[in-house]
């Protein structure tokens, strides 16, 4: 079950804070290249891995050395799933802004911002909860 490596739970929270700021700037300025960059960040976290994800690298370089080490670990699978959810919203948002469908861009960005903000401010991972709900409603083969 824990095939994916565990991570320091403060890393994703830091990443969520950066994501919140980035998405807030996108909403205010409507500057879609920034949202495109955030889409790439989400994609790396979701499809490549959390370690090479830009905000995790930033966390390890800038933040982690200033904090006391923790033995607390969190499973990476739901976090990566959450990044994938973020990726979808950011992608839809980017396409919306870039193609002139600004409303689509704004709405998609707002959803992604809502999730990132909940994670940063309350340590509540909306995408992770969604992962559980999805699993609950996905019947697995070989289950009695």
């Amino acid at each position: 079950m824990s095939a994916s490596p565990a991570v320091d739970p403060r890393g994703p929270r830091f990443a969520a804070a950066v994501t919140t700021v980035v998405l807030a700037v996108v909403l205010v300025t409507g500057w879609w290249p920034l949202l495109a960059a955030q889409t790439v960040v989400f994609a790396i976290g979701a499809f490549v891995g959390l370690r090479p994800a830009p905000y995790s690298v930033l966390y390890r370089l800038l933040v982690a050395p200033r904090l006391r080490p923790t033995t607390e670990r969190e499973d990476a699978a739901p976090l990566r799933f959450a990044q994938a959810v973020g990726f979808v919203f950011a992608l839809v948002g980017t396409v919306g802004y870039a193609s002139g469908l600004t409303t689509v861009g704004i709405v998609a960005t707002a959803f992604a911002l809502f999730a990132a903000f909940l994670n940063a401010a309350f340590n509540f991972c909306l995408g992770c909860e969604a992962y559980l709900l999805l699993r609950r409603f996905t019947p697995r083969a070989g289950q009695a």
């Binding site: 739970p9 909403l27 704004i106 911002l113 559980l132």
Partner: protein, 141 residues
């Protein structure tokens, strides 16, 4: 300008949602299913009951749940310090029907069950050990 208003609205919605979630965390609820007989409890829960303990805390967890680990630490410590209190963690990742039968939507949720399997109370989120102990006191011993 629209973007700015959407930003403000989204942050306010986030604050409200986060506040509601934080308020619910660790809240102790009396049993809404008073009188439920052990017969209607799902099999894995019945098996988890410790006949030697006055109260068994059955913690429903899933593999992908960070607060479940915190809840485990709190409850295992409490059970160790408290006579007559037993703690079992039940992983329902691959058997969601157990959670469904108990009416549990989120993990961690902890059920406090009496010797006969009657539900005394339940806690969703990470329990606060002092508060939980106070609520369990009448049933212990």
């Amino acid at each position: 300008m629209t973007g700015l208003w959407v930003l403000v609205a989204t942050l306010v919605a986030g604050l409200v949602a986060g506040g509601v979630l934080a308020a619910r965390n660790g809240r102790i609820r009396g049993s809404g299913r008073a009188g439920q007989t052990p017969r209607t409890l799902p099999g894995p829960v019945v098996e988890a009951l410790d006949p030697a303990a006055s109260v068994t805390l059955v913690q429903l967890s899933t593999t992908f749940c960070a607060p479940c680990r915190q809840a485990r630490t709190v409850l295992a410590g409490l059970a160790e310090r408290t006579e007559g209190l037993h703690h079992v963690e039940l992983d329902v990742t691959n058997r969601p029907q157990v959670a469904q039968e108990l009416g549990v939507l989120r993990t961690p949720t902890t059920l406090a069950l009496g010797r006969a399997g009657e539900e005394l109370l339940r806690v969703s989120g990470v329990p606060r050990s002092g508060e939980l102990l106070a609520a369990l006191e009448p049933h212990l011993g």
